[in-house]
Symmetry: C2
């Protein structure tokens, strides 16, 4: 007791310092290039935390379809940039971070010199188009800043951003005529017909406005822009690349290609010519809006009124430092700092701001709405992010997380289905993946008392969502207690995830005193049992007649009743009730053996071809870290008598799956979920079941971490005897008192304080397992 008080006393000045601006330059440890090779699907460009604009180079123009066939190469370009590519096509203003399907890439700008070329050209012949060769030696990426030398045009291009404005700076070493290409045909996951409409007005000799409407992952998506040049346009033009057509002859009855200030169509490229002096810098501001060109212009005027590229860059980096400083860590090696802060950087890339500075945004009904008292966000990759990203936000971004819930509730209000988002971006539900995982996000916020939103309405939205019979097999699930594989594919994954989501609803209902709802949904949460085949010991697809599907290979991922995971992995997906699951699967000892096999077996090669979204490196044995369904699995040892194996495995995964290299991510970062797993695990605990107060204990990889909470408190993690080989927790103290259990609670963390891990090279086999 005495010691605790002393500690608190000693901490007081340090806390004060942290609060009053003991801000370190942590951006130095962030390397935005990490994940840009292979399957990470991150982008290296400029953005601010949760920013609307992601201004980043795109290195090729790979269409989704070629000759009516799916083009599998498109997948590499989910974030527009592939590290191994030798050319840059240009800089577009919207990108997803780490997704496994894609969209966006709006409004590609490319500065060129020499002959005006309006096609992008090809990678092997960059001189055949406006694209340029570049080399990584002449490339630099920092939070909020990106620079590259465009070799073919002898231009240094620099990028920075505010929330809603991308800012370009092009330096021309020679006096010549320069062109800025605005390619409205460019896009990520592009295909013929994706551009529904584009519309451009040259408002005056420095200002251009317009919009682009696409039919892609978001089916009905419109982005507006306002683009401003730092010097007057000398001349300009546009070209329509669409097929000749009788009707179009009616238009353009006089020259509307040259210096004609209005053009519209589906396949347009525009160019703007400037005379530049040797050494001259041309700046371009490019503001976005989900509402209107008027909104985009207001965003520009509010956020980047002047022509101070360096100022915007500094401001952007300051925003990053503010967020990154929410956790100050000490590590054994610098590369761990790079891993840690790059992970934090990745977690703060989304969800993204989706409203104008005046609070207006486009809703799912395509009408314009006003965000009253909250920031409206989009890019909800919820099947991924409910697991660790939103729980992480409940620690370091509770205000933003509550606003994200408010954004989901606005989505619900606007949804004609009366459903919370499944996977939504830019005023669209794209129905990607399965489940209704807005529910655990909301439950986690409510259970962790970070519910600065209307909780009754939130519960209502969750219940209504969970009762949408026509949604993806829910009718069968509600009527039969499972999704029958012959009626609806990926049926086991759906049954398991619905059951977990239902448990989350039950937890909220319980907390809010809604006993009837609690009963209904705690009952539904047991449905996972209906797809457990005791004979094989696996979760297994069941048919509508109640029999098991005959053909069954628990190692195969495809066509087996699962999605992004095989039965081996997915059979462990009962995050809300591991104890019962373990009992069902043969008890603690047998279950621990099962986990051991998962991590150590040799997966036959034939199964790799079928494993989505991850590189060969994303698999350890048969444990697939590169996809999400197993993210809690290493922590399940805590429910056996061998919690020390959680410690061992998680430290091993941290090393194996996260490297401070361009190809360092073992799979898609998935909007920060992979990175959030890193942060939690590096801190030594993990939210196995969001919607619960509990964090399962792992093994901290940091030496020390100071988590600055928004309530003014600080939670400090000390790791005694930290070494690479000392992965085993010997004992723990919370605020100086022994912590004899395998979990920490959120309320303990939220109060601030100190958690001390005492580490060692050998397991403490007497550690208390989870109840």
């Amino acid at each position: 007791m005495k010691k605790t008080l002393l500690t608190a006393f000693l901490l007081a000045p340090f806390l004060a310092m942290a609060q009053s601006g003991n801000t370190q330059d942590l951006t130095q440890y962030v390397n935005p290039m990490i994940g840009t090779a292979k399957m990470g699907h991150t982008y290296p460009g400029a953005t601010v935390p949760f920013g609307m604009v992601q201004l980043s180079p795109d290195t090729d123009t790979i269409p989704y379809e070629v000759n009516g066939q799916y083009n599998k190469d498109v997948y590499k370009y989910c974030a527009g940039y592939q590290y191994d590519d030798p050319t840059i096509v240009g800089f577009s203003h919207t990108h997803f971070s780490g997704t496994g399907h894609s969209d966006l890439g709006d409004f590609l700008l490319m500065p060129t010199t020499g002959k005006l070329q309006l096609n992008p050209g090809t990678e092997d012949k960059p001189e055949s188009g406006y694209r340029s060769a570049f080399s990584h030696q002449n490339e630099k990426a920092e939070p909020g800043y990106y620079r590259v030398q465009l070799d073919d045009h002898n231009i240094t291009a620099e990028l920075t951003a505010t929330n809603r404005v991308g800012m370009h700076q092009y330096t021309f070493p020679e006096k010549e005529e320069a062109h800025v290409i605005l390619d409205l045909m460019h896009g990520i996951y592009n295909y013929d017909g994706k551009n529904v409409w584009t519309f451009v007005r040259v408002e005056n000799d420095t200002l251009v406005t317009g919009y682009k409407q696409t039919n892609g992952w978001a089916r009905t998506r419109t982005v507006y822009f306002a683009m401003s040049f730092s010097k007057p346009i000398k001349s300009y033009g546009n070209k329509d690349f669409s097929e000749p057509q009788v009707y179009k002859g009616f238009w353009r009855k006089f020259d509307q290609e040259h210096n004609f200030p209005e053009f519209a169509g589906t396949k347009l490229r525009a160019y703007f010519n400037f005379d530049v002096e040797a050494g001259e810098q041309l700046q371009v501001k490019f503001a976005l809006s989900p509402v209107s060109t008027e909104g985009a212009l207001a965003n520009m005027q509010a956020e980047a009124p002047g022509w101070d590229f360096e100022g915007v860059r500094r401001q952007s980096q300051a925003l990053w430092n503010k967020e990154l400083n929410k956790i100050q860590v000490k590590t054994l090696a610098k590369e761990d700092l790079v891993n840690f802060y790059t992970a934090m950087y990745h977690t703060f890339l989304g969800p993204t701001t989706y409203m104008d500075v005046d609070g207006k945004y486009r809703g799912l009904d395509q009408n314009i709405h006003q965000a009253e008292g909250f920031t409206n966000y989009t890019t909800f990759s919820l099947w991924d992010t409910y697991r660790a990203l939103h729980p992480f936000f409940n620690i370091v971004q509770p205000k933003r997380n509550a606003d994200m819930v408010k954004s989901m509730l606005a989505h619900y209000d606007q949804s004609v289905h009366r459903m919370l988002p499944v996977w939504s971006h830019h005023a669209n539900e794209n129905w990607c993946m399965i489940g209704y995982h807005s529910v655990p996000v909301i439950a986690d916020a409510i259970i962790k008392d970070n519910a600065d939103f209307d909780v009754e309405r939130a519960l209502e939205a969750c219940v209504q969502t969970a009762r949408t019979r026509y949604y993806d097999g829910l009718d069968y699930y509600m009527d039969m207690g499972y999704v029958p594989e012959d009626k609806n594919g990926s049926s086991v994954s759906k049954t398991l995830e619905y059951a977990y989501d239902d448990w989350c609803i039950a937890q909220m209902a319980k907390k809010l005193g809604r006993q009837e709802l609690y009963e209904e949904f705690i009952q539904r949460s047991q449905n996972y049992k209906n797809v457990y085949d005791a004979r094989t010991g696996y979760m297994r697809p069941k048919l509508s007649d109640g029999t098991w599907k005959k053909e069954f290979d628990p190692l195969d991922t495809h066509g087996q009743g699962f999605i992004e995971g095989n039965s081996w992995n997915y059979s462990l997906y009962v995050p809300h009730d591991p104890a019962t699951m373990i009992g069902m699967m043969g008890g603690k000892h047998r279950f621990a053996q099962h986990l051991d096999s998962l991590f150590t077996m040799e997966l036959p090669d034939k199964y790799f071809a079928n494993t989505e979204d991850i590189s060969r490196d994303g698999i350890i044995g048969n444990y697939v870290h590169g996809n999400e369904p197993s993210h809690h699995v290493a922590y399940l040892y805590n429910w056996t008598d061998e919690p020390w194996k959680t410690q061992e495995r998680t430290r091993m995964i941290l090393k194996a799956m996260y490297k401070p290299t361009v190809d360092g991510l073992g799979g898609n970062d998935d909007c920060g979920q992979m990175s959030a797993w890193y942060i939690f695990s590096a801190l030594g605990f993990y939210p196995v079941a969001p919607g619960s107060e509990q964090y399962a204990i792992g093994s901290p990889a940091v030496k020390e971490a100071r988590i600055q909470l928004e309530n003014g408190k600080t939670f400090i993690i000390h790791t005694k005897n930290q070494r690479d080989k000392n992965v085993y927790v010997q004992r723990m103290e919370l605020n100086g008192k022994p912590l004899n259990r395998s979990y920490l609670t959120h309320s303990e963390l939220a109060k601030g304080g100190e958690l001390t891990f005492y580490m060692g090279a050998k397991p403490n086999k007497k550690q208390v397992s989870m109840p």
Copy 2:
């Protein structure tokens, strides 16, 4: 003097009566079927004066292109309806009246019974689709009301409308399952690719919302809707008719065709099923908005909150009677009443309301604007309507005409070109035809003191428009004084019309004391002289080297430097200075002979094929009444010594070109211009040069007309000795005093009073001609 006072005294009680509601049922004389056969291009459906909704049957689905070739049959369907067609495809909610190019036909609804069919079928086999045979015996059209029996489905369909809401009533004689088809692929002047996007939400079991975006005559056009059924939908669905495509596979991962409340795409048809009892009436309200589905719904709630079809019909007809009663006429025959009030009906069909009940509307910049203190209008067919329609509005609709000018100024403010509208509809400039004829509309309003708008700003807008060098040959016109045919086609028509428009600017400048502008534009207004070839006596295309174009056939319409008129007709186009023109062309006598030839020559057949937009009946000799450039021509005799020929010709044209039959219009009604010519001429005067105070005197066809002015005054026209053969004006009295001239001024008219024509069967050859 005494007599004048007495007249005023006697009139007083009658005026009071007229003002206090001596409203006759004049809708009985309106036949909306007039002009629906051949080239009139009118539609027979339901609308209110200047209404946003024009709910009317479409009788076929003729595309603009077939196999990449222009399909000339499309032209017949400018208004969607052709009287000779045996089938009705359905009822769509937007139509132009009388245009010679087209667009719209939005949101086709069709009630059916029997097997659900989602394609329209063909005319020869209506049973092959949802369309239906019908017969004119079972069809009725009145202002604000339309009814037809759909033979194939045994349904009586009735239509009525408010300003922004179309209302349908379908009566089913038998108990059965009924379908309402919503065909989002349908459109007028349709072609593959015209539908840019359509988006639909089934909000609940009676309400559907959505929008349609097209790339047609209006390049970037979006119309929103809200549709409400009087009883709950039993079941519904949608079908996507677009080509299979790899990417689309991503969508619709579960059944989204049946009872799934959200669909979007480019080729969609939807259906809504209802069980109906024998004799049951299903009502549908269909509201439009240029802004949003929210706006459409608010429009519906404001204008048609209930389910009172008959009430809406009565209200619509009351609105018509209110407008039609602005001129109460007595005629020799009932068929003249039908001609007169049908003409008035046609003049009040547009421009059309283009804003929601809250004043919001879409601007040319595609942003949402608020109309402050005026009604925003669209559908400005200005090349047609500046001639007589807007001058007519300056008499009977000055408030609306001022709002139309305000709408044009809003267009100007939003135009990236800083130009007033040329031909605009639905937030688009479509650049149709030539000139900048917003200018005469504005000038006419200012000169006639109907300028309840910012006149300085209006003048500025006119000047700015007239100085847009890149617009359609204006650079040459400004630099060389004419448009050279080798640089820009239809060069003579353009030169002549620019010159007239410039004169209008000069008149405004003069009135507003802007001497410098007056000088500049009065100078430009003389440019018509630069294309007069004294050797041939015709206006003739000149080349950029100053020589006349060699090949020249003044009878031919095409490729001769003119548009919608040959040189014979267009050479008379100097409305602002007929006296000088007549002098230039050889003096009064020779000019009158020239006019005589125009009306009496026999035009060789080969020239008819080249004459646009009019039927064979639309030509008298070589005088083309069916197109606009000659509309002032019959009045030019007033500038010769033979004004009585104006009287003779105009009475002849009234008889020949306007008949109370379905094919009674000699050419496109052109948004009311043809009809406005009728009204003016039937009243006995015509605005030869809008922008001038003067109306040239013709020969009244009415026996009496009481024109109710908005200032509370009444202007009465008496025609003494009116007979069909008494076409010659013997003398006139204005307010009892002899009027010894060939014109009336607007200010005389605006004061109220009485104009008495004394008619006879022989010309008064001593009549005073125009100065």
